[in-house]
Structures are given as structure tokens and as C-alpha cells.
């Protein structure tokens, strides 16, 4: 390609081939105006493993019920302790390593967890391009549509969607500006900001472009629960984003995800709190955003574009890290892995403690110890288990906030071991958690 053409390109960053409206869901259409970004977007089908992330392509023979020919590896097989932690809950039936965005819809549809329990339409909020479907179902009102689909059974709501997350979920079609389209995040971040004293925060009005490079991801990569019989998707951020603040919300509203099959404790499931964990780390403090590492700029001819092949930065260290850190790739990889190893080691200590506790409580109940007598034990398990699951569910194996992850695991160990002590002398009053 000649210099002249470079200059040509340079002057007009892109050709308006088709007109995009606020109802254009199909990414292929957007792709005609933005081929570079669309190409990257499509590559999220790639599967490659890193030491602790990425994902492994595991072939399977398709069935009537589940036509997928390839899935990601089972985390339950990799670590059987997880099934013990989740005993009695759908997650103990099927839990896999997450993979690229291209799979989000099918993986949700076909997970065994769908059979293990009736799921609501709410699930789709984070697994499909719901912006237009919500608007339509709500007669133009996004939030109304959100509430409507939440209350449908999953199978029925499913009929309303066609695509995984798509361009329109993150971009305003005229200016291509970033935007947040997810009601649960709009409400959640408003509550979180309020907790910091920022009144009436409207993310699409008040967030800086820099913040939007993180918030677009925070729409889904967060801890959540279904509120009330309306199954309203809710992010538990009224008191803040830290694990103890989130736990305090559940303590107040008495929410439980299930009753542990072997201990009888009313326990909670933590889910992908990437945004919450990242927020406690030095990168967030330094204004580094999700997109900086997961969608780094890449050269396309005379232009720089955001790499829409969203994936593990460990597969793209040169662009994801080396502009800011002038260390050799091998060294950066080693730094990440040494942080992850520490997290993994402490996760091991916490899960082992939990295995001890579950076994002992099960035996105690067999001996006839009553749930009333186990009140302290149950509360300590509920907290300690939520803490370790919070780090386990966070998908960077500690990298997003290494010190925070280790702090949480250290406390988890303390609470779980204290639960074992409380089991031995039902009289001891456990130390007030910090």
C-alpha cells in the first residue's frame, strides 16, 4: 500500500458504507463501516490456554439437547473441591472455564445448570445483545423491557434475542461514543457512587470517556443477585464495591443463593467480580482501564484501532503491557504468574480449610447436632466461603488486585478455621469480623 493511500486513509478514518441506526443489532452490518473492529470481534471464537486463563477447546459429540461441538474445560474436573463448596447448587453440576464473547449466548443456553434449576429471563442481561430487544419489549422504554424479560422463564425470554453482545451494546451508532446500555449497571453504579457521596450519578451523562473504557465491561463482569420475585437483576453495591461491603448488603437483606447440602448453612455464590476487584488495584488507581489491557490499540495500515479481539492479555503482552512497561515479554509474563501463584496458593489453603469444615459439620449433624447449635458455625461458613469464592470467581487469579485478593483469602482462612473451632465448643463466641 502506497504512502498516498496511507494519507487518504488517514484523512477519513472510515467510510460510511451503510447507515447505522439505534436498532441495528447485527454486528455484520456495523462491520461494513468498521471492518477492522469487526474482524477482531469475530476472532473471539479463538480458544487458547494460558497458565491460569484463556480457555481450552474440548471437543464433544453434539447431542439433541446440546449441539455444541467444542466447549471449554470443566473447572469441576480440574478441582473437585469446588463441587463440595457448592454442594446442592446448580454450579456443582456444571462449571466451565469461560471463553470468548462469541460463545456467551450458546454457553448459557446449553450449560447443565439450565437443567439443574429453572432459570429466569434475567440471565440474558449479560449473555446477549439485549439493548434493542429490551427497547422493543418495553415499547421504547429500556427499563420496562428489562423488567418484562426478567420475569419471563428463560426459554421464553430467549426467543427475543439473536446475538451475543454486539456493537450496539457498547456504542452509540452515530458518534460511536461508548455508552452503557445495561439497566442493572446504570442502577448499580449510581448506588456505588452515592455510597461515595456522589449524588444522582447518571453514567451516560457524568462518566468520563476514560471511565467508560471500564464501565462498558463493568456492565457484566460483576457480582450480582436476583432481587425479589420480580427476579430483578441487582448489583449489591449500596455500601461500596469491597467484599465486606457487598457481604454487608447480603447480611442486611438476608439473601441466600442456596442451602449447603452437607452443612445446612444458608450460603452465597460469588460471581465474576472483575470490576469490583479491579477497582481495588493499583492499575485502577493509576487510571488504567479494562480496554487498555484487553482491547489494546493495534496498528491497521496507517491507523491505530482498538483490538476488538477481547481476550487474555497474556496472549498479547506486547500490545497490552509493553507500551507502559518496557520489560521483556518473558519478564512480564513471569511477574503476572508469580502474582497468580501466590493467589492460587492461598486459595488452596482456604479451600482445604473449607473441606475440613464441611466434613466435620456433616459428621456433627449425623451425630444429631442441631442447626440451632450450629448458628455460629453456619454464619462463619457463610462469610468465609463467600470470601474464598469471591477470589475463586474473579477471573484474573488475583492479578487485577493482588494485595486485595490475598487480604480476602487470609480473612477467609481465619473465618473458616474459626468455624471449625466454634463447632468444637458451641459456647465460644467467635471474634467480631473486621
Amino acid at each position: 500500500m502506497s504512502i498516498m493511500e496511507h494519507k487518504e486513509e488517514a484523512r477519513t478514518p472510515y467510510q460510511q458504507v451503510v447507515e447505522l441506526t439505534d436498532d441495528t443489532v447485527d454486528p455484520a452490518i456495523w462491520g461494513r463501516n468498521f471492518p477492522a473492529q469487526y474482524d477482531g470481534y469475530k476472532r473471539t471464537v479463538d480458544q487458547q490456554r494460558t497458565r491460569y486463563g484463556g480457555s481450552e477447546a474440548v471437543p464433544r459429540t453434539p447431542t439433541q439437547a446440546d449441539p455444541r461441538e467444542v466447549v471449554a474445560q470443566s473447572r469441576l474436573k480440574e478441582d473437585p473441591r469446588l463441587a463440595v463448596m457448592w454442594a446442592g447448587y446448580a454450579f456443582s453440576k456444571d462449571f466451565r472455564e469461560e471463553r470468548g464473547h462469541a460463545f456467551m449466548l450458546e454457553d448459557q443456553v446449553f450449560t447443565e445448570r439450565q437443567k439443574a434449576a429453572k432459570q429466569p429471563g434475567t440471565c440474558l442481561h449479560c449473555h446477549a445483545s439485549v439493548y434493542v430487544p429490551y427497547k422493543q419489549a418495553g415499547g421504547g422504554d429500556l427499563v420496562k423491557g428489562f423488567e418484562k424479560l426478567n420475569q419471563m422463564p428463560y426459554a421464553e425470554a430467549l426467543k427475543h434475542v439473536k446475538h451475543p453482545v454486539s456493537c450496539i451494546d457498547c456504542h452509540e451508532p452515530k458518534s460511536m461514543a461508548l455508552r452503557v446500555t445495561r439497566p442493572a449497571f446504570i442502577e448499580g453504579i449510581k448506588a456505588a457512587k452515592a455510597a461515595q457521596g456522589v449524588k444522582d450519578f447518571d453514567v451516560n451523562r457524568d462518566a468520563t470517556r476514560q471511565e467508560m473504557r471500564t464501565f462498558t465491561c463493568g456492565q457484566c463482569h460483576v457480582e450480582y443477585f436476583f432481587k425479589g420475585k420480580e427476579k430483578r437483576l441487582t448489583y449489591p453495591w449500596d455500601k461500596g464495591l469491597k467484599v465486606e461491603q457487598i457481604y454487608a448488603v447480603y447480611a442486611e437483606n438476608g439473601h441466600k443463593d442456596w442451602v449447603h447440602a452437607r452443612t445446612g448453612a444458608k450460603v452465597l455464590k460469588a460471581q465474576h467480580p472483575e470490576f469490583e476487584m479491579y477497582s481495588q488495584g493499583v492499575h485502577a488507581r493509576s487510571g488504567v482501564t479494562c480496554a487498555d489491557c484487553h482491547m489494546p490499540y493495534k496498528r491497521e495500515g496507517a491507523q491505530k484501532v482498538s483490538d476488538h479481539h477481547v481476550r487474555s492479555p497474556m496472549l498479547n503482552i506486547n500490545r497490552a503491557c509493553q507500551t507502559c512497561h518496557k520489560w521483556p515479554e518473558e519478564e512480564l509474563k513471569a511477574r503476572v504468574e508469580s502474582l497468580q501463584e501466590r493467589t492460587y496458593l492461598m486459595r488452596d489453603h482456604a479451600l482445604n480449610a473449607l473441606m475440613d469444615l464441611v466434613k466435620e459439620v456433616e459428621q456433627a449433624r449425623a451425630r444429631g447436632v442441631t442447626d440451632a447449635q450450629l448458628a455460629n458455625v453456619h454464619e462463619l461458613q457463610r462469610r468465609g466461603q463467600f470470601y474464598v469464592d469471591f477470589v475463586e470467581a474473579e477471573n484474573s487469579t488475583g492479578f487485577h488486585a493482588p494485595e486485595e485478593a490475598l487480604r480476602i483469602l487470609g480473612q477467609s482462612i481465619d473465618y473458616i478455621r474459626q468455624a471449625q473451632l466454634a463447632l468444637r465448643d458451641v459456647t465460644t463466641v467467635p471474634r467480631a469480623p473486621k
Partner: protein, 165 residues
């Protein structure tokens, strides 16, 4: 109230007259070198030595001098800035009253940021806009900072650290 530019022009005029410690220094220490584009001129002051040494090792050594990044394109503003910096730096150099390591003032940081576009406008068109245009729907669509990721291009920091925001 004087506009920023007018104020700097005024100082520019001031330093023209070799009077007062600032002026004295300005000439003695080849403060006039502010008006040249030779990086060695900047290094006339030992306090600039670190940056000079780092620049010599930088990716821009062959392509951009100090002034390419530290003075605005507009000609009047360019000499105003040089004179103003020349004045302050001379004065502070003499009095020794400045932070060490030196910290860039917001005004000069902005100049450095904009200077990137003098040479790199083309490559960043796509990422800077269309949506980064002030008129864009997103009212808080601030300009993007280059130094956030490329802070070290002119003179890399020790320890491989990033320049910061």
C-alpha cells in the same frame, strides 16, 4: 485580566531587557538557547542533563528535539512559551528554588501532549474520533492523553516505570 498568551508575551518582552537576576541569567546561561532548537542548548543547564541523556537514548532522538515537544506550533505562542520558560527556568535555576526531580507544569504538559499530534495526527484519527469530537453525544468526551501510555517516548524514565497521567 490578561489572557494567558498576552501574559506570556509580556514576560517575553521583559526578558528582552537584560535587567534583574532573571535577565542576567538568561544571557549568561545561554538562556537564549531557548530560542534555538538544539537539544544540547537545553542541556546547558545541568538540571536538564538527565532529560538530555535520556532523550539521547529515546526512540525520538532522531526525529524530535526538545522543542518539537515542548513548544506549541503557533509561531507567536512558540516564542512566547520559550521566553516564558526561559525566564522562569533561569530565575529558578539561579535561586535554586524548584523541585527535584523536576515536575512539569500543567501548561507545559498540555503543550507536550498536543505536540504529539503535530506528527502523529494521522495514526490516531480513528481512535481519537469520530466520537472524540467535542460535539459528540458523550458530553464528557475529553481528549485522550498520549502520555498515559507513551509518557517515556521523549526521555524514558528509570526503572521502566510509566510516566503516569
Amino acid at each position: 485580566m490578561l489572557s494567558d498568551l498576552a501574559a506570556r508575551l509580556l514576560i517575553a518582552a521583559l526578558v528582552g531587557i537584560p535587567a534583574g537576576v532573571g535577565g542576567y541569567t538568561f544571557f549568561y546561561a545561554k538562556g537564549a538557547s531557548y530560542l534555538t532548537n538544539d537539544p544540547r542548548a537545553c542541556a546547558n543547564c545541568h538540571v536538564m542533563q538527565d532529560h538530555y541523556d535520556a532523550w539521547v537514548k529515546s526512540s525520538h532522538r532522531a526525529v524530535a528535539t526538545c522543542n518539537d515537544c515542548h513548544s506549541p506550533k503557533n509561531v507567536v505562542a512558540k516564542y512566547a512559551t520559550k521566553a516564558e520558560n526561559g525566564f522562569w527556568h533561569s530565575l529558578k535555576f539561579t535561586t535554586g528554588d524548584y523541585k527535584n526531580p523536576i515536575q512539569i507544569r500543567p501548561h507545559n504538559k498540555a503543550i507536550a501532549e498536543h505536540s504529539c499530534l503535530k506528527c502523529h495526527q494521522g495514526i490516531v484519527d480513528a481512535i481519537a474520533g469520530p466520537h472524540a469530537a467535542p460535539a459528540a453525544d458523550h458530553p464528557k468526551n475529553e481528549e485522550m492523553s498520549c502520555t498515559r501510555c507513551h509518557g517515556g517516548v521523549g526521555h524514558p524514565l528509570p526503572g521502566g516505570t510509566t510516566a503516569g497521567l
